[in-house]
Amino acid sequence: MAESNNMSNYDEASLRAEVTAWLAANWDPQLSLIDWRTRLTESGWAMPQWPAQWYGKGVSAQLAAVVAEEFAAVNALGVASGGPGRLAAVTILEHGSDAQKAQYLQRILTGEDAWCQLFSEPGSGSDLAGSTTRADFDGSQWLINGQKVWTTSAHHATYGLLVARTDWDVPKHQGLSYFVLDMQQPGVEVHQLRQMNGHASFNEVFFTDARIAADQVLSNVGNGWQVALTTLAHERRLADVLRATAARSKLEGPIYEEERAETAIVMEPYQWYPQRAGRVDLVGARAKSTGAINDPAIRQEIAKLLIMSQTAEWTARRARAAQEHGRPQGPEGSLGKLASSNVARAASHVHTLISGADAMLTGSDSPLDGIIAEILVSVPAISIAGGTDEIQRNIIAERVLGMAKEPRADTGPFRDVPKNTV
């Protein structure tokens, strides 16, 4: 286990010196990915911000960035970072018992175990706390019955982060508990779900008397919503992961290939995600190559799109800058999701105008080997996934602008709250 340095032992120079020395002694691209990551997690350099007893060094975010720089300088690989595993790690770190941390954390970081997030249900999407998957304690273990949906990566997950209802007689947020579920058991059935763009990124997961041992509740029974909020707060931008692996895409050697293979599997469900954002980056080249750039009506639409996407980008930069300077984030921080929906829709419209009759085609007959068609049929997802536009507007109006909430119909005991019948 790592030496137990704490935050106060480091300044930037000493940290940089220590990590450089450690890398010089330990980074070895000849190791297998798992062997390297095992060595890495045990050193504490894997997650510098984490506490020293759990694979970290207990340093600040700023100093952790120094560590990342030194890793990048020698092209040393980090821990497994894509997909829901990371969400599991932060949630277990914050809410898990020591026994749970010891059982799960390291294998998440090494990438040996894959995880999935079992939150959304057919009956509760926007209303995530309206979960009706039930967890009943039979005296020795929990029995799970119900259904989850939109579960990315469930088809190759070892474990799932499950939110289920343990008490029906209290208001909805208070009756939920948070479990670690073993996905590889007979009571768990996973079906792939196909989307309108032809991809199958998600799964439906059915539970029929699936079993969970009594010691696999995270935090306390009834505290599931609080735990779920931790997970939701860490939903990471996939773009970061893609950028990081893209930066290493030219490196040769078996360990890099192993990492690329891992990324390919983890990222497979997300292949079309750039397209759902509208691919503004393709607009200029498409307009020029088709001659649409000379059409005054299309020029206007392209200009509107550029204004929209540039301002969205700058608004996000303002939010990030405020954060980096330790200032409270202004309203700009809440607007990004809504702005990205507007940008995506406008981009889809512009791609249609530019492509003209070709917009009727798909697959290899569609421009850019199908990318244009994929944009047109993927953009509808962006205003739904991760919280719909309507929910974003409610959040902005209520939390940012301080406007009154609508009267609620779901504050009583959950048993009595009107629900979907199908």
């Binding site: 196909r194 009759a357 739904i384």
Partner: protein, 376 residues
């Protein structure tokens, strides 16, 4: 101008609806869209024999039922609502109208009866890989060689181009440009030098093809070099028919969105009780009804031989395209995640809306035509 349908027209609509409810549920749409040809010849036969729909606007002397654009548009609206998979737009709208506008009486007497009876499926090939929807985009040439015309060039985005049994092709005399020198030709599907390739269409319920002609024999229809006006009239009626098809589809989506919003519960109440959803639905209704007004008005104008037809056709096409796309996007949005799945039917209409938006020219193209054709 007639602003309501007659009782007979309403009854006619009800008959078509009954037929489609039974014959074109979305399970059938899904089955047929996955086939190469894209339609069921038995359903096509029933549509022709029981309802006489391919004959609808063909004159009685040519085996038709002698109705006009309004009845044709009623059919289109219902086909759009039920997403019927059939070569109707290709054969009964595009090809039939082109023949009626461009062929001589004798040629019509020969070509129209089998189309009216549904025995022969025809299509009109006029768009080319350049994707232009007007006469000036035609580059395919017809050369006179020893009394025969030989066609060379490429047509694209040809509706049901691979399955059609008769091709009406727009070609130009070499050396001409613009609306000069254009003629209609009939080409047999097995003609020499003709290659037909299916294109992968986003809307799988509409089969598109690319046709390559290499010295392919064609028989002239109508008078040489004078097809431009007939083509333009044909495209006006086609745009109006498409606008009516689109409003039928938009209405189906609106109905689906509203009924889902009334049923789906989140936060202990139906999502339709949230103003955000309610207002969206009200706005959709306004847009769909406006588009219907335009589509119906244009159909009546076609029946009345209104001199303003090109402008009205463009108005209706632009308006219906936008309404259909907006309704489709909103319908997915109101369904939430389930609306984005393959299993849910919304995407079938969404894709039809997308392809109809650009088929025969996108809304900005038609808004420009409206400005050119309308006295302000």
């Amino acid at each position: 101008m007639q602003f309501s349908f007659s009782d007979e027209q309403d009854q006619f609509r009800a008959i078509i609806q009954r037929f489609l409810r039974e014959k074109s549920p979305t399970t059938e749409v899904r089955r047929l869209m996955a086939t190469e040809r894209g339609y069921d010849s038995e359903i096509w036969r029933q549509l022709a024999e029981q309802l006489g729909l391919p004959a609808i606007h063909i004159p009685e002397i040519h085996g038709g039922s002698g109705f006009g654009p309004v009845e044709l548009c009623i059919v289109m609206e219902e086909f759009g609502r039920y997403l019927l998979c059939a070569p109707y737009f290709a054969s009964s709208v595009l090809a039939t109208t082109a023949i009626m506008n461009g062929a001589t009486a004798a040629e019509q007497a020969e070509l129209l009866p089998p189309i009216a009876s549904g025995e022969r499926i025809a299509t009109l090939a006029f768009t080319e890989p350049n994707g232009r929807w007007d006469a000036t985009g035609v580059e395919l040439t017809a050369d006179l060689a020893g009394g025969d015309y030989l066609l060379s060039g490429t047509k694209s985005f040809v509706l049901d181009g691979c399955s059609a049994e008769l091709l009406i092709v727009v070609a130009r005399e070499p050396g001409t440009s613009g609306s000069q020198g254009l003629s209609f030709f009939r080409v047999e599907p097995d003609a020499a030098g003709l290659v037909r390739e299916q294109l992968q269409s986003m809307d799988a319920t509409r089969k598109l093809a690319r046709l390559t002609f290499t010295n392919t024999p064609g028989i002239l229809l109508g008078e040489l070099g004078s097809a431009a006006a007939a083509l333009s009239r044909t495209l006006s009626l086609a745009a109006i028919a498409l606008a009516n098809e689109m409003v039928g589809g938009a209405q189906a989506l609106l109905d689906s969105a509203v009924s889902y919003a009334k049923m789906r519960v989140q936060f202990g109440r139906t999502i339709g009780s949230f103003q955000a959803i309610k207002h969206k639905c009200a706005d959709m209704l306004l847009e769909v009804e406006s588009a219907k007004s335009a589509a119906y008005y244009a159909a009546q104008a076609a029946a009345d031989n209104d001199s303003d037809l090109p402008a009205l056709a463009s108005l209706a096409k632009a308006c219906a395209s936008d309404a259909y796309m907006h309704t489709a996007a909103n319908c997915i949005q109101i369904h939430g995640g389930i609306g984005f799945t393959w299993e849910n039917d919304t995407h079938l209409w969404f894709k039809r809306a997308k392809s109809s938006e650009v088929f025969l020219g996108d809304p900005s193209y038609h808004r420009e035509l409206l400005m050119q054709n309308r006295e302000l």
